[in-house]
Amino acid sequence: MTERKKLYSLTPEHRAQLEPWRDKWIANAMSTAAMTHEDRVACTEAVFGLYEAAKIPAPKAVVFVPSPFVLAFAGGFAAAAIKNGKPLPPMRQQQIENPLWNAIYRATHAATQPDQMSIEAGRENFKFSPVIRTISEARVFLAQKPAAYPDFVGSPETRDDDGIPAADQLTKWYYLGCDMRALANELDVGTFGLRCAASSWRMWQGGNQWSGYDAFLSFFQDIAKLDLPVYEQYKHWRVLAERSGPRVVHPDFCIISDRPEVLTVDERNRPHSERGPFCRWRDGSSLYAVHGVRVPGWLIEYPDKLDIKAISSESNTEVQRLMIERYGWNKYVHDIGGETVDHHKRWGTLLRTPSGLVLKVTNRSPEPDGTFREYMLPVADECEPLPDPNDPNGRLGQPQPLTALNAVASTFGMTGKEYESVLAWES
């Protein structure tokens, strides 16, 4: 008779460890510590272990880069170059003044042509680090020449306060400061390379960004002490989660990103910063958000540029709401020349502006802090019910009297009467 395996049950002592264990991994996910030489050695070894555990050949190169942007683009460009089966153009011998460009340029070369990198590394006018190809190389570097152990491929230059990009470079919620199409062309991978970069999630593993999962998996290893043989294979994955950012894993190469130098959240753990990027890496690449809403960088770095034109041209309702809140609702209505056409306590205020009718409404669901958000919704000139946005042949409905109720109803594609009857039926 086969002995039945004893299954684990959560004990009160182990339950008490859930929260501190979780918090330890949250700190790991939110870490802004730069990777050290020791981290890179441990991660190099872990990468080789990861491939070995998966019973696949070791990668030809392990490359360290300063940010996930470099990771995605260099990973995509390198994958494209390998797929094309065509060597990259020879490396230029002079750097240009753009850390992100340099990092992607070099990392793509390092991932696809590690031999060439090793040769070029000796030239003084082009200081970059050699690529690690074996575990023994990594160990030798650390044991004999700690200072010479490969640094990031690229310049981990920290931007100072005076180095804020110009407003016209901050039109999106992320900042790169680098023309990726030009770089793809210089590396001769073109649009295919950009497509591969856009698909780099296929090769993506989160490192410390996926700490949520590792908190759970490691709890049963360290606290519950389950004796699972699979932990022998998992240990490599865990080292990478504890000591590095995300990575791209490819049969020929593995590229590993550092952690950010800035990562801030609000009281509800949403991405948030009113004074600069909420997330920034050491190559200057950055992300902007306010209470979880991704906003164009200029809104944070150059708040004095916020005007009526910027607000009116913003197509994202959440971003527009944030802009109006910052501008001031009363000032906004005044400055757009808004005249009240109709007001109803429940349905909101219908305003006529030089650019058309708009409805100021208050969200009926409160925010967690008890406040109610206000939004500005565009309405058709005669409150005609709006067509289904997914219907390419959709048309406006029949004109209605200009009331706040009809305006609300029109945004749902209904007349005021239809909307009221739907609400009556639902209640």
């Binding site: 998966a54 019973k55 683009f73 780099s200 296929r202 989160g206 960004q209 049969p251 991405p271």
Partner: protein, 67 residues
């Protein structure tokens, strides 16, 4: 488009632990423990994971859209 055999194979080391843990627990279930740990809510995963992880791919897609 991208040869990602290595990615799939190495990720198995992670999937397999989930499976092995699930097979080794009686009560409460692994799902209940995972929820009780509360990591996803507390982590602020939009900050630490979603935004930083999505941004590079979004940037690459935007390059293609601009063509």
């Amino acid at each position: 488009m991208i040869a990602s055999i290595a990615h799939v194979s190495t990720r198995l080391q992670w999937y397999n632990v989930w499976s092995a843990i699930g097979d080794s627990i009686s009560a409460p279930s692994w799902r209940e423990i995972y929820i009780e740990m509360g990591i996803l809510g507390a982590l602020g995963q939009a900050a630490a994971i979603d935004g930083p992880e999505m941004a590079p791919m979004t940037a690459a897609n935007d390059c293609l859209d601009d063509d």
